[in-house]
């Protein structure tokens, strides 16, 4: 007998998403929902990120030695 499909209420889905957001925020510094809707992602481009921006502007971010 095939397993019964999991039925979740909207509130349960919301609770799960909140829990995933909280865990993702701790691990990656941003919530899952934020990461999933990052700019450019939907146009097939590589999404911009804080890391990339820091890399592109070494004169503005990070220890002064990085800029050398």
């Amino acid at each position: 007998m095939p397993p019964k499909p999991l039925q979740l209420s909207p509130q349960e889905i919301e609770d799960i998403e909140l829990a995933v957001d909280a865990a993702f925020l701790r691990l990656h510094g941003k919530t899952f929902r934020h990461a999933a809707t990052a700019p450019h992602e939907q146009n097939g481009h590589h999404p911009d990120s804080v890391e990339q921006i820091r890399k592109d502007f070494p004169g503005l971010f990070g220890p002064q030695d990085d800029a050398a």
Binding site: E14, G29, K30, A38, L60, Q64
Partner: protein, 223 residues
């Protein structure tokens, strides 16, 4: 009028001050590096300026011409300050994009279906007051319901969600969902504020020496 002495006084004062409120260690270091470079550059110019002003063989007109020539020759040496400001502007714009764009990003799928969904969301508020639309927008962002938030701010006709609430909602959303990007944005904006003020004074000083206002445009604060 900004002169070399008053500009140097401001630079030296800032250099000896402890880390200004709002700067993190990196931002403070960037600002101090810029101050050190400026102090060195302005000090050199001050010596040349002083020599011209003390030259008894020169008439007032002769001094003016020499100072103008001096200013014209050095104005390009300060382009780096304008370049940092320009980079900071671009970085802030990209960080804002990373932080706030998800709110307005339209999901994949059928555009007509999405339009109908947006319409349905807006219909639920109908003729409610601006304050109710504002509250609904903030609540939607708070619970991460970007579809509702976007539908409310893209309602056709006059803005139903006030611009101030939009800005505050965006900021709260960015701070909560991507604190790293938020902190970087604050740091860049803070650095820009201090460097803009400094660049404005440098521009005034160069024009006072005789540089053309057009040649210092890059140092003028934007907006």
């Amino acid at each position: 009028m900004q002169n070399s002495a008053s500009l140097l006084t401001r630079i030296r004062h800032d250099r000896t001050e402890p880390l200004k409120p709002g700067f993190d260690a990196d931002g403070g270091e960037r600002f101090q590096t810029a101050l050190a470079r400026l102090e060195q550059q302005v000090s050199v110019v001050q010596i040349e300026e002083s020599a011209i002003l003390k030259d008894r063989l020169l008439t007032d007109e002769g001094q003016r011409k020499k100072l103008t020539a001096l200013a014209g020759g050095i104005v390009g040496n300060f382009d780096w300050l304008g370049q940092i400001l320009s980079q900071a502007d671009t970085a802030a714009s990209r960080l804002s994009h990373v932080l706030f764009n998800p709110i307005m990003a339209v999901p994949k799928g059928d555009a007509v279906v999405q339009y109908l969904r947006d319409q349905e969301i807006r219909h639920s508020l109908g003729a409610a007051s601006v304050s109710e639309w504002n509250a609904a927008y903030l609540l939607a962002l708070e619970r991460g319901d970007l579809e509702t938030a976007r539908a409310l701010v893209t309602a056709p006709g006059p803005a139903r969600v006030s611009p101030d609430i939009q800005r505050r909602g965006q900021e709260a959303y960015g701070r909560r969902t991507n604190p790293a990007a938020w902190e970087q944005l604050q740091a860049v904006e803070h650095l820009t504020e201090h460097l803009s003020s400094l660049a404005g004074q440098v521009a005034q000083w160069l024009v006072g020496l005789g540089a053309s206002p057009e040649s210092v445009q890059m140092l003028k604060p934007k907006g």
